[in-house]
């Protein structure tokens, strides 16, 4: 810590405290920086940035890295990729005819929204080198709103023309008409040394190395005073000294110098040196042979020149493979290994130095771009491998036409590979032994918020079943990066997270210029230095993305100058640099997947952003990029954040402060941003609201009426909330709202409001409160079969007597498809489809007889009728007819429907009351909804109380109030406003009972509260059955509402009946009402007889009939089939 303090004093400007101690002015409208920030790319910029990087930069790198395909058959043959590019999305219509498409068309027609990947190649045809341009090798699914998407940089008007909602964030893919999101994956960081303690209290320093070729993990473990290297390719732990020797550093002195010549290090390494001597390893060859023996046996051993050469190769490419080894110069790798050992040694004495795995500086987020690049590279390699196979096979053959590799390039491998991966979510890459499931999910379009919430979701790779609290608990380093409220309850709690509003995730940045800059700033290359110099006490080691860059004497200068250059725009804004004093090193990071966030820079106790800058921003003269460019604002990643002093607001700026928070409400995410006054609520309530906001119905998007989704809930009359937050405006929730402002009276009414039930005014419902539309779709395709037959649609069946269509068909048109506007009732036919009964047989010669068809009509299965909203007839990717019907139901709220306010207070409708029975106040207002006050004391949702108050004042004054987190309208001001409007300042009014007309004893707290109608409605859940279908095997009633199943009398209910001694009841419920079955039993042999005759005794002498559950009879028979004979002995009940 000593050195740390020293550094600090160096760091802060030596200024006269008084001079700069003046009060920092509050920057008016500082929050306007947030919309400016979001204006650039919207809420899902991280996805889009990542995909853009992949499409524009990384794919070129991948192709470059695999640019040559050679053949074993012909040494002259080659294919060389010169260039690769991805076009704009289109649809192929027949042979090589394509036309540009829009995402909406793909959604409707169940197509892929993808663009062609074209390459320019140079290859040999015969003995001629040929260059071909724009060859299609596959199709790349395109992320919406990415640089290749047709929607990028379009005005709202143009978007509307393409049937696209301007508020839709994009960032997802459309595969087979389904919107798929590649979730953000949280991962441990790579190529850094992590210090940990294992279960046996041994210190381990581990390093996950990842390069394009392979991923490995190298551990150095300190055990019983000795140090070992642990790696997958070795059977046992290897003494580290052996590794050094194998790397060609044979001299013990050199090894010790690399690790450190201080007293304590020398002492610690002694044992290990001795161990190596005991093993009789002194030279490099000996060490390599030793390692060769310890290596895990591989099944397919390719005999190489020698064990030693092979081991050298393995050392270079497998152990710490991210450290480059050029011409078998192991110097850098040895230094790195020495550093790992050194770290273990330090950590053994000082336990505080152990790294925290859950610290967000040690995490990286993987986005769509990097996942797709992994998948693409794998597929591209396989594509090339296949080309090579074809070349190997075909070149030796002598044919009339010359072998032309272009004719063998099939593009469906890459196309299908990418589309399948995205649509199934299974990411299997054999090269990295990677097998992940559930990487993608279908974008939930339940509400606008649920779609946004999904786009910002971060999935953790941790196993959900494990009961460890570490990764689940809130990490202080999450501040401002991940929303502290938005996480699901239950198994995913704390593992599934959401990004905060201003979080940015970096993409990879080229290392080369950074390296050059670092060397210019006084970093000395390690390769020319010895161990003694490297470990000098006065120097700091400099790392770039975990690799040793060199050492520097004046680390303070390096860090400050580097940061200065970054603020000047000479270094990429997302490169971070920070010193780690405890390890005496400086880390520079430019890798992708780091979380970072913009902050206002503070210099000499004054924020650089001034009021005039904000004014210019408001006028539209300045943009957020200008602020970055002028060095007024900079991005800090988690690690650098830890090295800065960030003031929460202007009033807290004092000496030593380096940065200022832009707006504190941005530390919440999208979903938590909806909650008004969240800082007044108990924290789990905000978490509950985050989950419920995603189930609220309302508006989905401006194009909702053009969509044909499987399920869509809409409110008929959605409202923008009376009490808004800044976040609501930023994410346009007020334009696509999901809820209604209900006038709520907090009081008790009847007994139907216990347990959070709500009382609703019937007149309010009559007038449209809570009315919702439920859209469902029905799909039908007319397939073509191999034998030239295909499905077809028949017209309605005409009743011969009445000459009218039969009842079942009375709503379908002459074309066999139901007409829009018709009401469909249960079991009515919507599409009268029939399919050929023979669809695999031989090709029908045509003339000989008609093909037989069987009816497979698409019918409506729901007891509540629906209306046909629209009918779409189109064709899908296989050129088959695609018919989509959109069904609509309008529902008014009923008892049991679920509602929730924005404070995690959900409740079902308990009673619907006539208007005249509702209490009314002096001005004759009766509430829309009555809420029981018992919901408050234990939930402590003070935010809701304030929302009501602010809402009431807003309604009276005709303006919106703000309930922004850590800000918003103040309660005193709101009370003052209420009083000025002639209302009670506490928001409580005198009410009269609607039933008796007498005044109520208490004043009632009443006003508007924003209520959401949740998707759980009684109509979709109610279920009862008297008799119905049974399962085939057991003859017991089926299970579940969808199969009209029975209501289960479960184990616990059974226990109750047993305890009560209700034996006849038990028999009735468990047997008679379920699967009673009469069985004949032969009393002689105890086996089951059949129709009064025992087949084993060959007699019907002593057969009697008893009733037993069919499942029991089944068990006996199954036992018999496995050679166990259950015999029944019957006795007369009365004996």
């Amino acid at each position: 810590m000593g050195s740390h303090k020293n550094f600090d004093s160096m760091c802060t400007f030596k200024v006269d405290g008084k001079k700069y101690n003046r009060v920092v002015q509050h920057i008016q409208n500082k929050w306007k920086l947030v919309p400016a920030f979001l204006k650039g790319k919207g809420l899902v910029k991280q996805h889009i940035d990542s995909f853009n990087y992949f499409v524009n930069v990384e794919i070129k790198k991948i192709v470059k890295a695999n640019e040559k395909v050679l053949s074993d058959a012909d040494p002259l043959f080659y294919v060389k990729y010169l260039n690769v590019s991805i076009g704009t999305p289109d649809i192929e219509e027949g042979f090589s005819v394509s036309r540009p498409t829009t995402p909406h068309e793909c959604r409707l027609r169940d197509l892929n929204y993808s663009a062609p990947i074209t390459v320019d190649i140079e290859y040999m045809r015969g003995h001629q080198p040929i260059i071909r341009n724009n060859l299609l090798i596959g199709r790349m699914p395109i992320m919406l709103r990415s640089s290749n998407c047709v929607l990028s940089e379009k005005s709202n008007f143009e978007l509307a023309k393409m049937n696209e909602c301007p508020h839709d964030p994009g960032g997802y893919f459309i595969i087979n008409g389904q919107e798929k999101v590649i979730l953000i994956q949280e991962q441990m960081l790579r190529n850094r040394i992590i210090l940990e303690e294992d279960s046996k209290n041994c210190i381990i320093s581990s390093c996950n190395s990842a390069t394009q070729e392979r991923k490995t993990k190298t551990n150095v473990i300190g055990r019983t005073g000795k140090y070992y290297l642990r790696h997958n390719i070795f059977q046992d732990d290897i003494p580290v000294i052996v590794i050094f020797k194998a790397m060609g550093i044979v001299c013990d002195q050199e090894i010790v110098q690399l690790i450190g010549t201080e007293e304590n290090f020398m002492k610690k390494i002694g044992c290990s040196l001795e161990e190596c001597h005991a093993l009789n390893i002194f030279a490099q060859n000996q060490a390599l042979k030793y390692l060769g023996n310890k290596r895990k046996q591989k099944r397919f051993t390719v005999v190489k020149s020698s064990i030693t050469d092979e081991m050298k190769d393995v050392l270079a490419s497998n152990i710490l493979n991210h450290v480059p080894v050029i011409d078998f110069n192991f110097k850098l790798k040895a230094t790195y290994l020495a550093l790992m050992i050194r770290k273990v040694m330090i950590a053994e004495t000082d336990g505080k130095l152990l790294d925290d795995r859950d610290y967000y500086g040690n995490k990286r987020l993987e986005l769509a771009g990097s996942l797709l690049s992994l998948m693409f590279e794998d597929l591209f390699k396989r594509f090339n491998w296949e080309l090579k196979q074809i070349a190997d096979k075909n070149i030796p053959k002598i044919k009339a036409a010359q072998f032309d590799i272009v004719k063998h390039m099939r593009h469906d491998l890459i196309t299908n590979g990418l589309a399948c991966a995205i649509s199934s979510g299974n990411w299997t890459i054999k090269r990295f032994k990677m097998e992940r499931h559930g990487v993608t999910q279908v974008l939930s379009r339940l509400s606008y918020i649920s779609a946004l919430g999904m786009m910002t979701r971060v999935n953790s790779q941790f196993e959900k079943t494990r009961k460890v609290s570490g990764p689940r608990s809130l990490q202080p380093s999450q501040w401002g990066m991940l929303c502290p409220s938005d996480t699901p309850e239950g198994e995913g709690c704390g593992l599934v997270k959401n990004l905060a509003l201003m979080t940015h995730i970096t993409t990879e940045i080229d290392e080369e210029p950074i390296m050059r800059l670092a060397f210019n700033l006084g970093v000395e290359n390690v390769n020319i230095l010895g161990g003694e110099e490297i470990n000098n006490k006065n120097v700091y080691m400099v790392f770039l993305n975990g690799n040793i860059l060199g050492i520097v004497k004046n680390c303070y200068r390096l860090v400050t100058v580097f940061r200065l250059l970054r603020r000047k725009g000479l270094v990429n804004q997302f490169v971070s640099i920070y010193p780690q004093h405890q390890h005496r090193c400086v880390q520079i990071s430019s890798d992708g997947g780091r979380l970072c966030r913009p902050y206002i820079i503070v210099e000499l106790c004054q924020p650089l952003v001034k009021a005039e800058h904000i004014k210019l921003l408001e006028q539209g003269v300045r943009s957020f990029e200008d602020f970055l460019h002028d060095g007024l604002i900079e991005y800090l990643d988690v690690n650098e954040e830890n090295d800065s002093f960030i003031a929460f607001d202007e009033s807290r700026i004092k000496e030593g402060i380096t940065h200022l928070e832009i707006e504190p409400f941005t530390l919440l995410g999208v979903c938590a941003g909806l909650v008004p006054y969240p800082h007044h609520n108990q924290s789990p309530r905000n978490t509950y609201q985050c989950a419920m906001g995603k189930q609220a119905m309302g508006t989905i998007a401006y194009n909702q009426r053009n969509r044909i989704d499987t399920l869509m809930y809409n409110l008929v009359y959605p409202h923008a909330p009376m009490v808004k937050t800044k976040t609501i405006e930023l994410i346009n929730f007020d334009k696509l709202p999901a809820g209604q402002n209900a006038i709520v009276a907090v009081m008790s009414y009847s007994g139907y409001d216990i347990e959070d039930a709500l009382i609703i005014n019937k007149a309010s419902i009559d007038r449209g409160y809570g009315r919702c539309l439920v859209y469902r779709n029905v799909k039908c395709t007319l397939k073509k079969y191999a034998n030239q037959t295909s499905d077809k649609i028949m017209g309605p069946l005409i009743d011969t007597v009445t000459k009218k269509p039969v009842l079942k068909h009375d709503i379908i048109d002459n074309d066999g498809i139901v007409a829009p506007g018709e009401m469909v009732e249960n079991k009515k036919v919507m599409v009268n489809k029939s399919t050929p009964s023979m669809n695999i047989g031989p090709v029908n010669a045509g003339s000989q007889g008609q093909t037989e068809y069987k009816e497979v009509a698409v019918t409506y299965k729901n007891t509540v009728p629906a209306y046909i909203e629209k009918v779409m007839i189109s064709s899908n990717a296989e050129d088959a007819y695609l018919i989509k019907l959109l069904l609509r139901q309008t529902r008014r709220p009923e008892i049991g429907d679920k509602f929730s306010s924005r404070h995690g207070q959900k409740g079902v409708t308990g009673l619907i009351v006539e208007q005249e029975d509702m209490p009314f106040n002096d001005s004759g207002i009766c509430p829309d909804m009555i809420m029981n006050p018992h919901g408050f004391p234990s939930r402590m949702t003070v935010g809701k109380l304030i929302e009501l108050l602010a809402g009431k004042a807003g309604v009276l004054k005709g303006k919106f109030h703000y309930g922004t987190a850590f800000g918003g309208s103040r309660v005193e001001d709101v009370c003052e406003e209420l009083q000025s409007q002639g209302y009670n300042y506490l928001g409580k009014d005198m009410f009269y009972s609607g039933l008796t007309g007498e005044p109520l004893q208490a004043y009632i707290y009443s006003g508007p509260v924003y209520y959401q109608k949740l998707k759980h409605m009684v109509q979709d859940k109610m279920h009862a059955r008297a008799r119905g279908p049974r399962a085939v095997l057991t003859r017991q009633p089926t299970e579940g509402r969808s199969k009209d199943g029975g209501l289960r009398l479960g184990e616990m209910e059974r226990d109750c009946l047993i305890g009560y001694g209700a034996s006849m009841m038990l028999i009735e419920r468990l047997m008679l009402s379920s699967d009673a079955f009469d069985v004949d039993i032969c009393n002689k042999c105890g086996l089951m007889a059949y129709s009064g005759y025992c087949h084993s005794c060959r007699s019907s002498a002593r057969v009697s009939t008893i009733t037993m559950p069919y499942a029991c009879k089944l068990l006996f028979q199954e036992l018999q089939s496995m050679n166990i004979v259950p015999r029944l002995t019957l006795k007369n009940y009365c004996d």
Binding site: A763, Q915, G924, G997, P999, L1000
Partner: protein, 346 residues
């Protein structure tokens, strides 16, 4: 009069509640044996205010129990009949609004038709279209949106470039059925919409709404659209008693705690003013005096338990005064049936 009021018991409004609300009933009949004659004597109705269009009516009911006042309120809300569109026969609807939602919106439109001219629809559901001219009014809406051929070239305002893009209630036309055209020569006016600028739907070129509607007589209990009033309500007459004299700066503050016009400042001597109650009637009873610790104890807020300020806001089909009489008739009818039922017991 003043003296009488003072002796009368009050409902006391304290800072956090009404302590004597539970004995409300007792307050009314303290010295009581109720008789119809006595009631006739004391009960009075004063009409205070009637708006020009006769839609709003404010009157006082003095000297009755709250049960009676509340009964009228409840009947007005839910049992005085009015006409509203009940059935919509959609011929064509290519607008964005769904059929059900459009029907719901049409149903909520207030009609001018006098419900007294019609009968309740017969319960027996007969074949479609066959409705009686005695109980049904027929309306038609036919609205088409088109491009405006005379649109100013550079205009992009929807109102300029389209015609018929907004469908208002005035587009609904009455269609006589049966003998209605003879019975009601003024029908066009008599049965039109109350407000002709209610926006029903917005449309874009080539969208069309064509529907027939049947309006019937109904009561608010069935659906809020049949309720003839926007609201009917009453409140008790506020009463402010100044216990301790309030003078000077306090008086000004005191005045601001009440609705304007409730408290006046009287100059009692040179330079000193004292707050006096001018007219408590229009006080909103916000009880904001209780915010000031020094004013809290100077005043007693209360309400007169048998003085109801009744407000009726008619939707517009019938004047509020007529509605009240209708409500009385409904109550009368109910009483009659009740008495009949009682008579039938033995």
């Amino acid at each position: 009069m003043e003296k009488k009021q003072k002796t009368k018991p009050h409902i006391i409004m304290k800072e956090h509640g009404i302590p004597n609300a539970f004995e409300y009933d007792n307050l009314l009949h303290l010295n009581d044996d109720w008789s119809i004659d006595k009631f006739k004597e004391t009960f009075q109705i004063n009409i205070v205010n009637e708006s020009e269009n006769k839609c709003e009516l404010e009157f006082d009911l003095i000297g009755c129990s709250c049960a009676l006042a509340n009964t009228y309120r409840r009947i007005l809300l839910s049992e005085v009949p009015s006409m509203a569109i009940e059935k919509v026969y959609m011929l064509n609807n290519t607008s964005l609004i769904q059929d059900e939602v459009l029907a719901h919106r049409l149903g909520l439109l207030p009609l001018k038709a006098d419900p007294r001219l019609f009968e309740y629809p017969s319960k027996i559901v007969n074949e479609e279209e066959e409705v009686s001219d005695q109980d049904t009014l027929r309306y038609e809406i036919k609205a088409v949106c088109k491009w405006n051929s005379q649109a100013p070239k550079d205009s992009r305002r929807p109102d300029d470039i389209y015609t018929g893009n907004n469908v208002y209630s005035r587009d609904i036309k009455w269609v006589p059925i049966g003998k209605q055209s003879e019975l009601y020569p003024q029908g066009e006016k008599q049965f039109s919409m109350i407000a002709d600028d209610i926006l029903i739907c917005k449309m874009r070129p080539n969208q069309e709404i064509h529907a027939f509607m049947h309006a019937v007589k109904g009561i608010g209990k069935d659906h809020a659209k049949f309720s003839p009033v926007a609201t009917a309500t009453y409140r008790l007459l506020p009463n402010i008693q100044i216990v301790k004299p309030i003078r000077g700066e306090m008086a000004e503050r005191f005045k601001n705690c009440f609705s304007p016009g409730v408290i006046e400042l009287v100059e009692i001597s040179k330079g000193t003013v004292e707050a006096k109650v001018k007219d408590a009637r229009y006080d909103s009873c916000s009880r904001n005096v209780f915010r000031h610790d020094d004013l809290k104890d100077c005043v007693q807020l209360g309400r007169i338990p048998d003085h109801f300020i009744f407000t009726i806001e008619s939707v517009g089909a019938l004047p509020s005064s007529v509605l009240f009489i209708e409500a009385v008739k409904v109550l009368k009818e109910k009483c009659k049936t009740f008495i009949e039922e009682l008579d039938n017991i033995d």
